[in-house]
């Protein structure tokens, strides 16, 4: 076997190693039901859950708790997953800044007893353009 071939094989081996280990590190999107089942099985791997926030008619988020004057590192809210299952989520850090604006929220973490302990929160804010349209209708036309 030529050196170049051995070298090639070695590279392929490393590449496969990378793919396997990437697959091992990759997380998955699940719902809260699955998250609970995983926690019950003792699976502590962190997972992604996509959900929406409960809002009232004025667009205020319901059941949200953040009192920095008491504890700046405790933020809790209720997230409704795609199967309409509501779950209390606790995030032990400051409330993310664009949280109030977000519609869809992805929480990353795991179930712990009665709540979902989030390590990270990703927010999907409404697209800039859709939002612009609304503002124009409300403010600009009223001024005419």
């Amino acid at each position: 076997m030529k050196k170049i071939q051995i070298f090639g094989l070695l590279i392929i081996a490393v590449a496969i190693g990378i793919i396997v280990s990437t697959a091992g590190d990759a997380s998955t999107y699940v719902d809260f039901g699955k998250a609970q089942a995983m926690a019950a099985d003792g699976d502590t791997k962190s997972i992604h859950v996509v959900g929406t926030l409960r809002k009232d008619a004025q667009g205020q988020i319901l059941e949200m708790e953040y009192r920095p004057e008491v504890d700046p590192n405790y933020f809790a809210f209720t997230l409704v997953d795609n199967n309409n299952k509501a779950q209390r989520v606790v995030y032990k850090s400051a409330k993310p800044q664009d949280f109030d604006k977000s519609e869809q929220v992805v929480v990353i973490g795991r179930m712990e007893n009665d709540h979902f302990a989030a390590e990270k929160i990703l927010m999907k804010c409404p697209s800039k353009y859709e939002n612009d349209k609304l503002e124009v209708i409300e403010s600009k036309t009223a001024a005419l």
Binding site: S27, K95, K124, I137
Partner: protein
Amino acid sequence: MIHTAIGNIGHLFVILAFVTALVATFGYFKAVIPSTSPSDQVAWRRFARGTFFVHAGAVLAVVFCLYWIIGNHYFEYHYAWANTSLALSTEYLISSFWQNQEGSFLLWIFWNVILGLILIKTNRFWEAPVMAIFALVQAFLMSMVLGVVIPGIDLKIGSTPFLLLRESMPNLPVWKSNPDFIPKDGQGLNALLQNYWMVIHPPTLFLGFASTLIPFSFAMAGLWLKKSQEWIRPALPWSLVSALILGVGILMGGYWAYETLNFGGYWNWDPVENTSFVPWLILVAAIHTMIIGRKNATALKTSFILAIATFVLILYSTFMTRSGILGTASVHSFTDLGLSGQLLIYLLTFLVLSVGLLIYRWKTLPSDEEEVSSYSREFWIFIGATVLCLSGFQILATTSIPVYNSIAEAFGVVLNLALPVDQIAHFNKFQLWFFLIITILTGVGQYFWWKRTGKDKLHTLYTPLMITLIISAVIITVSQIKTLSYILLLTAAIFAVVANGTILFGIIRGNYRVSGGAVTHIGVALMLIGILFSSGYTRVVSLNNSGLMISRAEEFTANDNKENKENLTLWLNRPERMGNYMLTWRDVRIEPLKVPEYIPKSWVDIIEGDYRAVAQRDITVQDKTYYQKGDTLEIRPENFYYQIEYREPSGKVFTLYPRVQINPSMGGIVSSPDIQRKVDRDLYTYVSMVTNPTAETQWSATEEFTVAMQDTFFINDYVAILDNVVRTEQVDGVTLGANDAAVKAVIRILDKEQEFVVTPSFIIRDRAIGRKAEVNDALGLRIQFREIDPKTGQFTFAVNTTQRDFIVMKAIEKPFINVLWLGTFVLVIGFALAAFRRFRDFLKMRDKEDREGQVPTRKAPKLKPQQV
């Protein structure tokens, strides 16, 4: 009046630029293919060149039209309305150009035009084949901004920046009542992007993207014309320039993120960052194989693959960031404009064309007759290039996870894969080892290259190795590094500095022009050392050790996770201990445009919905009065600066001003850090929550207290003492006449660690009673002097309370981050030196060929590296 002409002219030039790009492609193609006779080839080339000049002119005209619209504030155009406003200063008006996808495509097209013109000017033989590919790329890019709907099948091609507002949002009711409606002001530029880095980062990055087309085009031309070695000489200087610019562009993005965003770092392994970093890695690998490609056929073949891969990866990156496929996976991808199909066609076209041509020509490429020796310099450089590629492959494999989901979805499979939870840990785990090997190889490779280290001369490496071990032993002991992987990485990086430094010292006396490689390698090693310390030894300084969270004591003891204590609440004017510092939040300040310092917000009254404020007092900064009371001054209305005073144990005081922007379109507040820069470390501070500085204060219901002199009473849980009531001649904001009288109460209020004095006044003026209340923000109190009862000697005060102002902040210390920036400068100098040298080589060779009047058919002579 709606200015429709300029938009129509712009659109016309877009179409002209698209058509000329297609014609130039065809012309240059005809100038290359052998079926055209040599004299016709010259004619076709001249024709294609002329067409490309027209294309260049049209592109410049498009850019000019869009700037005309932006610069003249034609808010009837969607682009101007959505991205600019009247208050925007010139530099941000310039940068608003590449705010949206259309403008950033135009920026890319613009750079391609510039690069194309330079290539036409500098190349003789290569002009036609290279420009054929250039023009084709231009046609694809122009199609992205074409904004043409093909009638009949209702197919929209591209998205034009010249849309009128009424065309982009036809459903607004206003068009029915007033079709000529023009908004008075635009939406403005996203406040986060109003940063000088955002003025220069995108043009640099897009120039980097654009320049990767050059090595690709030369590689394709080399395959096309079967000049499998000759393409390297003209392509190499451009590859170095490209790596330099792309690298600087990426780092500028990192620096912007560090200065402006609040995730506390310069690199987040975000998909958008990764997809521009991977092509850079592959490009650097390509440069290395190109350098040895003239001696080694395996390296030559690899150079083709890598030059093609670099460009295709740039297209892949464009597709990922602009097609919306990343979804929630990235914080800063573009919004989907419905161009994903077009982008995919662009990507696949060039993938198929280039890979197809490479396979078709593969058999004609030379191969090595003998095995490469493990002691040859080619072997070590090749290994280095391979590790660079593996590093890129690992980043790409993970970053593409959202793409796997989409592909699986296309086949009806639901994958539901997500990016790793801790992306930074995931990537660092691999990249640390890749870069450890790469840094060692930079040193070893240079020794093999310059010192002809070989089988019998390995001992030349002993000296740098010894020096390295001594230096790193000292550093490891002094800075108490205990993690094994960090120790190894540090040693490897120091070895690279020492080994490359030795080489540099040797060659710089002979010919500094060839020192580019060694200098670049030293830069990389320094950057790694900077990254190692600033990231590996980041320390959160703002650990919360006040007793506030007692209510949740159980949770805090149960979970040792430090993340839940990293934020600190600061009350206005109340000192709090943080690490070694005593912290006090002093004030909220605003940014006037024509005053050199931030000024307290209380000095002015901000006009709502405007960019001006009215001075409430004389604005005097550094003994100079800039505005009189009542003057109107221009300010940056979104920016508020939180003055945080840091008192060091030595008693030294410094102040940081982390910024908060009130930005409704971004969802409330957006904060940016302020950084205290010391030589050996940065102290990085940002606020993550504030009480809204623009909101009206909400006061509680009035509570009355009737007390006698020296009485103690309780206001909002504070102990208050009425010390005295005295006659006063001066009351702020009130002019007292001869018959008027005023008294003020002196009330002392005791807080935990300090006391405040509040002095509300009671005024009798023209027989009417005036009561001047006093507000104390630190205590959240408003006290009004209501009544004086001369009979009982008692005084009545009305008190309202409010939420006391507070901020939540976080502070991080980043040691030796300056080594990273220093390394960056060294890297830039190294790349520039190398590019300059290779460009001279190219020019010399070209002129020689010109003199001999022939195309380069013979094998290019090898430049021997100088002996030290």
